[in-house]
Symmetry: C2
Subunit: 418 residues, 2 copies
């Protein structure tokens, strides 16, 4: 019996017993499969796949994905240092950041690839490294995200250089002898091939204005289906329209551009699960709700509480035998009414109960689809709960600890009492 | 010239220079004033003020508030340990938690006060400490929060024991010889005196069913005004209706109940400010927006991104002299379109520009009202950004470091590479 895509009921119980709860488990087989799928993205003149490490930056995950042939996209100077610390050679790391790191010179000298994301960033880079090649991130004026908060293109997005400023980019490059060899756009995480085609064409319009361009980087993630009723992006469908656009561009402009993509969720979302323990089961009477309280929550998986995101939820009973089913709301351990794992879809203030077997103390609750933006983007340490440990389920079935459970001493190491 | 309630322009520049940005600054004078205001809450038969430490749990803050006469409400066993570590005697700490800590027996033996928040918690406590006194948290069936996510009473809330289960509470108490001396309700963070009166009466209806009750704990925060156009709760107005209710109860039931309240935001919200640096200034053309990018964001202040919460924002120029004003969106440093400090009120997916002096690199941006649920409840370490340092502005004008800037090594101390 399977509790979640990659964990059997017995494995969930073994995780509970061996590591305690809550614990995040990542599946090597899924990571390998998704990395290979991304590496098979249709392309005309070569492909580089950069893993968007902000989705799940644990060192062991970075090493594994790099060993499969993935490069890295880092969103901050700290992410670059973290990737280097995990053993990724700098030349495999690209920095595309809102905030220019204080140690940019050292990072570039070490060998990373740099994408200038604003005119100020471009000028700063030019002063430090005149006469070199770099990428620029352009906001092509259109985004594909499924809501404002996942849209990183268009006029309401601060990401990249607004497309009408390309003349200023060229001026700054001329002033410092810079060559723009990579044009980067980042258009959200949508799944509609028509929007991708429009974005690819807009991006190529931008690329056409840079005489030295060799690479088109289409950042932005691919929509992932976490729930059975959701539809993820078809990378082959999207890839085909992008490939056609690159071929058309080659014919029109005589330049064969290498393609770069930057999947994050696509690689890791369904490779992760949170295994939590049932701490309590309560209800608010016959006209109210039944609640399962788990020993994790917004400290580990914040997406439901902020987006109304839906994650698969399975109850794994501690004991065998038949149980009746009930409608339950699943809530987290924080003293916070918003710490809910079962919001209404897209509405974090709404509630939508799930049908689950009768829950009892000591059972496990498994939250699926918890690989991307969960450990990485949670209300860590809220209510002073420590970071959960992370475990990698190897292809041979071994469970390997890749992050220890945080201690209170570790959490408070930088606190000073007066 | 004042940049924010308690920081002059010169002080902001001094903070920038001496501690670097981003940095959270807390104001001792405001903390003292708010603590005294809370201690002046009208009451009939005595008052205990418990600081809800989840709002801002830094050890130096806990010590300061304790020295002013405040007790502590902890939301987890980890918070209890943290408070003890900061020097708070256990008998001043009350635990009111969704998750029963694994070390409950040790904490109770050390001397903390315990509120049972479910029938299971009550039974577990009864097995460990038969024949003793404790509190119970009751869900009286009504909440006062301003939205579902700040409502911790009513049928959609999992907090406390649903009021119709009081007979089961009494049975469990009888089985273990427990005496309920404190009845605790927690009704959200509203500011309407009528709702508070209703909640107080419902809470007293619950209290009337416990023959040993000596204390009524009305948990739940007091609505705070962060913005000039917001109205905070009038504690005297609310306190008066609560006092009247307690007096009526004494007359009707012959029992004079001590009152406990649990302010969090009320004490610390406007005692905190985030001082960030301007990292970039960009725009999306004449028909688009102007953006100020700061070196902080949802990693430090998450409330705007999840609730559309409004915080005062001031630009403190690095240089003197007149500057024109513009409409700006202020965005954070994360590679995340939702990392916005200027959402539309109550709508995190909307945008509402602010009028600010022309921003230039090196200026400071001060986010006010950042004492509560900012450092405590943020997307810490997202994009691998380290925790910002925390500074206490003493009443004598000294700036004292109470948390050091986190290092990458500290952040990754529990990571294991394989």
């Amino acid at each position: 019996m399977t509790a979640v895509q990659f964990l059997t009921v017995d494995q969930v119980r073994a995780v509970q017993r061996d590591f305690g709860t809550p614990v995040l488990v990542y599946d090597e087989a899924t990571l390998v499969r998704q990395a290979r799928e991304a590496l098979g993205f249709p392309n005309a003149f070569g492909l580089t796949v950069r893993y968007a490490m902000k989705a799940l930056p644990s060192g062991a995950i970075l090493r594994l994905l790099h060993s499969l042939g993935l490069h890295i996209d880092a969103s901050s100077g700290f992410e670059v240092l973290r990737a280097i610390r995990a053993g990724i050679p700098p030349e495999y790391i690209q920095l595309t950041a809102q905030e220019l790191p204080a140690d940019l010179d050292e990072l570039v000298t070490a060998g990373i690839e740099f994408n200038a994301c604003s005119l100020n960033q471009l000028a700063a880079y030019g002063r430090g490294f005149p006469g070199t090649a770099l990428g620029v991130r352009i906001n092509p004026g259109l985004g594909s995200g499924h809501n404002n908060r996942t849209n990183v293109g268009g006029p309401s997005s601060s990401f990249g250089i607004w497309h009408t400023y390309i003349p200023e980019v060229l001026e700054t490059c001329a002033a410092h002898g810079l060559r723009v060899t990579r044009v980067h756009t980042h258009i959200g995480s949508g799944g509609n091939p028509d929007v991708w085609m429009k974005c690819a064409r807009l991006s190529l319009d931008a690329a056409a204005q840079f005489p030295d361009v060799t690479t088109l980087n289409l950042g932005g993630g691919f929509k992932v289906a976490r729930m059975p009723d959701e539809t993820g992006v078809d990378v082959h469908e999207i890839g085909a329209v992008v490939r056609d656009s690159l071929e058309d561009f080659a014919e029109a402009c005589g330049r064969k551009l290498r393609l770069e993509i930057e999947p994050g969720s696509f690689i890791v979302a369904n490779a992760g699960a949170l295994v939590a323990g049932v701490m309590d089961v309560v209800d608010t009477g016959a006209a109210g709700y039944r609640f399962i309280k788990i020993d994790a929550g917004m400290t580990d998986v914040l997406r439901p509480a902020i987006y109304g995101a839906q994650h698969p939820i399975t109850l794994v009973p501690a004991t065998d035998g038949e149980r009746p089913e009930h409608e339950y709301l699943v809530v987290g351990h924080c003293c916070e009414s918003g710490d809910v794992l079962t919001p209404a879809p897209g509405n974090p203030e709404g509630l939508l109960p799930r049908t689950l077997p009768e829950a009892r103390l000591g059972d496990a609750v498994v939250i699926g689809g918890a690989g991307a933006y969960c450990s990485a983007m949670s209300c860590k340490n809220y209510n002073s709960f420590p970071e959960a440990p992370e475990v990698l389920l190897r292809e041979n079935g071994d469970m390997q600890l890749i992050r220890e459970r945080q201690t209170l001493e570790h959490m408070l190491e930088n606190e000073l009492l007066i």
